[in-house]
């Protein structure tokens, strides 16, 4: 079983929906340990993504659609999350090449390249209390599931669950990157907003896969 361009668009759509829905909650997380704009930043970005996606040819590949997400985020979000998430989508989409159907391995390649892109730009490690704390567990879980022969849907679900646990696990941490690093011990007890939004994005991928397959 594979996922196609329809899934890709559904994923992007769901992501835009969830970012809009969680806008205030994300900014509130950022207000606790950052500057309170993370929800605003992402919703500016995904509003632009949705508008530009409408102009994309119907036969665009998953890679082309995700590259459009990348360039749109880079050119509209700003802040730390704009270049970081933008790079994630950019590197991830490059890993997909011209494929029209994505199997479990392709999804693992996407997630890995995306995570590596964030590390390349932001130089964060697991435990630094950043979005990497969602991406890296997601990559590991996806890879493990794929190695076990799981379906694409199951790979994404494993990734989503791991990302969500990873985001939650940022709460007790002291931050070593981004604005929260200025706070030292005072960041303890708060969830990292970027880890939270990344886990929502990965969850949207899994939800879209479930939805797409139920419809088909």
């Amino acid at each position: 079983m594979t996922l196609d361009a329809t899934w890709t668009r559904a994923w992007i759509d769901r992501t835009a929906d969830v970012v809009a829905a969680e806008h205030t909650a994300l900014s509130e997380l950022d207000r606790q340990i950052g500057d309170g704009d993370h929800g605003e930043n992402l919703s500016r970005g995904f509003t632009a993504v949705r508008a530009r996606l409408a102009d994309l040819p119907a036969d665009a590949t998953p890679g082309a659609a995700l590259k459009l997400v990348a360039t749109t985020l880079i050119s509209t979000v700003g802040g730390a999350s704009g270049p970081l998430l933008g790079t994630a989508y950019l590197k991830g989409s490059a890993a997909l090449g011209d494929a029209t159907e994505l199997d479990a391995e392709a999804l693992v390649a996407f997630l890995t390249a995306a995570r590596d892109g964030v590390v390349l730009r932001g130089k964060a490690e697991v435990g630094d209390k950043t979005m990497i704390d969602a991406w890296t567990p997601a990559v590991d879980a996806a890879a493990a599931a794929a190695a076990d022969g799981a379906s694409p849907e199951a790979v994404l679900r494993a990734a989503a669950d791991a990302a969500s646990a990873g985001a939650a696990a940022t709460e007790p941490l002291v931050a070593r990157k981004g604005r929260a690093s200025y706070l030292g011990e005072r960041a303890v007890g708060h969830r990292d907003p970027g880890a939270q939004s990344s886990s929502l994005i990965i969850a949207a991928a899994a939800d879209a896969a479930d939805g797409t397959n139920k419809e088909s």
Partner: protein, 333 residues
């Protein structure tokens, strides 16, 4: 939230438009993407100096665009770094072939977006150098953090780098002046009350009636510690101790003393703080040879101030004194 605005999402666009209309003698505002450049730019043969960052720190950066300081400023959304596109457009608009220096406050967002812009510009054949400003001693500088933040000292770096560019220095020389100025500059701030980001609608943090936040940043980030409100002399002593220690100032040295208002604090208070700071420095044998007092690097309407010191040598003094003609700083022209 009470503000003199229309739509929270139009704050930056409308404000920059007003800025351009009010100061058409000095600057030109470009829209879509938004940036502010000197009316007379590019300047043939001279290095261009470009800065930018989130809005809400006015007059930084657009107020420092003009002769002897910035060639262009790129305002992002409130407290959010601009994306690479307007940085690239601004760079192209002011480059005269002698190269462009980016003065970047050390925040992950600013660093990444200016970095991307620099890559794109280099790909088009424009030579770009970047200098990070990280003067805030409230933040521990360590290999394991994002490093110190750039705050009020940015004005000093923009001034000396701009003066170096204006006198015809090469790109490497202008970058070296900027780096040297940053290395000689430290700041620390205090807040009495936070500002409110327009789209957030409530203050970034709340303090009790008898509390102040020491070591505050300029984005409503919480600071280093909360302490009971003290007499301003005691607060100044705290900030000054952190700054002078970090700079390692010793008797006989000369400094620029810059008392910066955070936006909602009146001048009358800043001068009371200045008085104490100058007295305390002189008591330690440090000569206050240049001064700046006012709200130059703000955090919306935050109430509070910061103290910045720059260790001056003859060259930095000369560059600080050099003629400048911008909206917020003007002398000698």
């Amino acid at each position: 939230m009470k503000k003199l605005i229309n739509d929270p999402s139009a704050v930056v666009d409308e404000s920059v438009a007003g800025f351009g209309a009010a100061h058409a003698d000095l600057v030109v505002v470009s829209h879509d993407p938004t940036f502010v450049r000197r009316a007379a730019a590019p300047v043939p043969g001279k290095v261009a100096v470009v800065s930018g960052g989130g809005s809400g720190h006015e007059p930084l950066h657009a107020g420092f665009v003009g002769f002897g300081m910035l060639s262009a400023a790129v305002p992002g959304p409130v407290f959010t770094s601009p994306t690479p596109d307007p940085i690239v457009a601004a760079t192209q608009a002011v480059d005269a072939g002698a190269g462009v220096l980016y003065v970047v406050k050390n925040y992950t967002g600013d660093v990444l977006n200016f970095e991307t812009a620099a890559d794109l510009c280099e790909a088009e054949g424009i030579t770009v150098r970047s200098v990070l400003v990280d003067d805030d001693v409230a933040v521990k500088d360590s290999l394991y953090t994002a490093g110190r933040r750039g705050v009020a000292g940015t004005v000093v770096v923009e001034k000396t780098a701009g003066a170096a560019a204006e006198r015809g220095d090469t790109l490497d020389a202008v970058a070296e002046v900027a780096r040297r100025t940053n290395a000689a500059t430290r700041s620390m701030g205090v807040a009495l009350a936070a500002g409110t980001v327009p789209h957030a609608g409530e203050p970034s943090f709340t303090l009790a009636d008898d509390e102040v936040e020491i070591g505050i940043g300029i984005h409503g980030e919480p600071g280093r510690e909360r302490i009971p409100l003290e007499r301003v002399d005691a607060i100044v002593d705290r900030l000054l101790a952190a700054v002078t220690d970090d700079l390692g100032l010793v008797s006989g040295e000369r400094v620029l003393l810059f008392v910066n208002g955070m936006g909602g604090t009146p001048l009358v208070e800043l001068y009371i703080a200045y008085r104490r700071a100058a007295e305390a420095l002189e008591a330690r044998g440090i000569e206050v040879s240049r001064s700046l007092v006012g709200s130059y690097v703000t955090s919306l309407e935050m109430q509070g101030m910061s103290i910045t010191l720059t260790r001056l040598d003859d060259e930095l003094t000369e560059l600080w004194d050099a003629p400048v003609e911008t909206v917020a700083l003007r002398r000698g022209r």
